[in-house]
Amino acid sequence: MESRAQILPGTLDLLILKAVSLGPLHGYGVLLRIGQISNGALVIEQGALYPALFRLVRKGWLKATWGVSENNQRAKFYELTAAGRKRLREEIEDWDRLVDAIAVVLKTRPEQL
């Protein structure tokens, strides 16, 4: 439990866009993929994923189509649109900038002031 990280507000979009950019996924698949690529360090409350997915669709960054999942169930699959790909690039740049800035702040020592 200690090794699990809370997801920062605003980063859920980034994680979803990244997960979907690796290939079309249904909602549960998005959760599995985020869990898998973060080695279980990032947990999202499962239901909270859907409002985020709906919003990303409405913004035109994801496209939803009905298909059949690996266990032969009808499921709604999400994939990245061209606008979504652009958005993902922007979000990654923003994230990198934020991380760099915070890293600089945290490394500051008294004599540097």
């Binding site: 909602g27 549960y28 499962q46 239901g47 409002p51 985020a52 709906f54 999942s69 709604k76």
Partner: protein
């Protein structure tokens, strides 16, 4: 872009509401089933797995509500519910409401009728060429306090000699023509 997407949201709400709702329900259920399947593979009984999947999912109805909000249909849905509620209330106190509606109708009707009269009598211009230049002349007779109607003419139609030079400055003053319109019933 935003206008287009709002319009689409509205059309979806009107024509595809039940389909959108059904798809949302199906998507959530499919999630719960997949999760329960996974948990079952890890050794839970089917019942336990389903229960656990629901717990992990969190507030089912709350997330549906949030999804509706993201779709932009929540406002419309609440509006529709309010209208239905209003109609139910109207139906419940029908006696009082019929009286209220009749009084409103009477009030609106009376006001409209009144306005029609005032509009034709006072506000509309007279049905003549250049009605703004129509004037009526009044003169005060020497030694008398009474005002009598002297003459009425149209400036555009009648020859100029029908009014004296003394009137000229007054005729150019806009206030006179306005007085004229208000008084037209007295000389027509």
């Amino acid at each position: 872009m935003t206008v287009f997407s709002s319009l689409r949201t509205f059309l979806d709400f009107v024509f595809r509401r039940s389909q959108v709702e059904a798809e949302m329900e199906e998507e959530f259920r499919s999630h719960l089933r997949s999760r329960a399947d996974d948990l079952e593979h890890r050794g839970l009984s089917r019942g336990e797995a389903e229960r656990e999947a629901r717990i992990e999912f969190g507030g089912y109805q709350r997330y549906k509500e949030e999804c509706r909000e993201r779709l932009g249909t929540r406002v419309l849905q609440e509006l529709a519910a309010d209208v239905r509620y209003g109609l139910r209330q109207l139906h419940r106190n029908s006696g009082v409401n019929i009286v209220a509606i009749l009084i409103l109708a009477l009030g609106i009707g009376a006001t409209t009728a009144m306005f029609c009269v005032v509009d034709t009598v006072l506000l509309r211009p007279l049905p003549y060429r250049q009605p703004g230049r129509l004037v009526s002349f009044f003169s005060v007779s020497a030694g008398s306090l009474g005002i009598c109607l002297h003459q009425a003419i149209t400036l555009t139609g009648e020859p100029k000699r029908t009014y004296s030079k003394a009137w000229q400055p007054l005729i150019r003053a806009p206030i006179l023509s306005r007085v004229t319109v208000l008084h037209r019933n007295s000389w027509m």
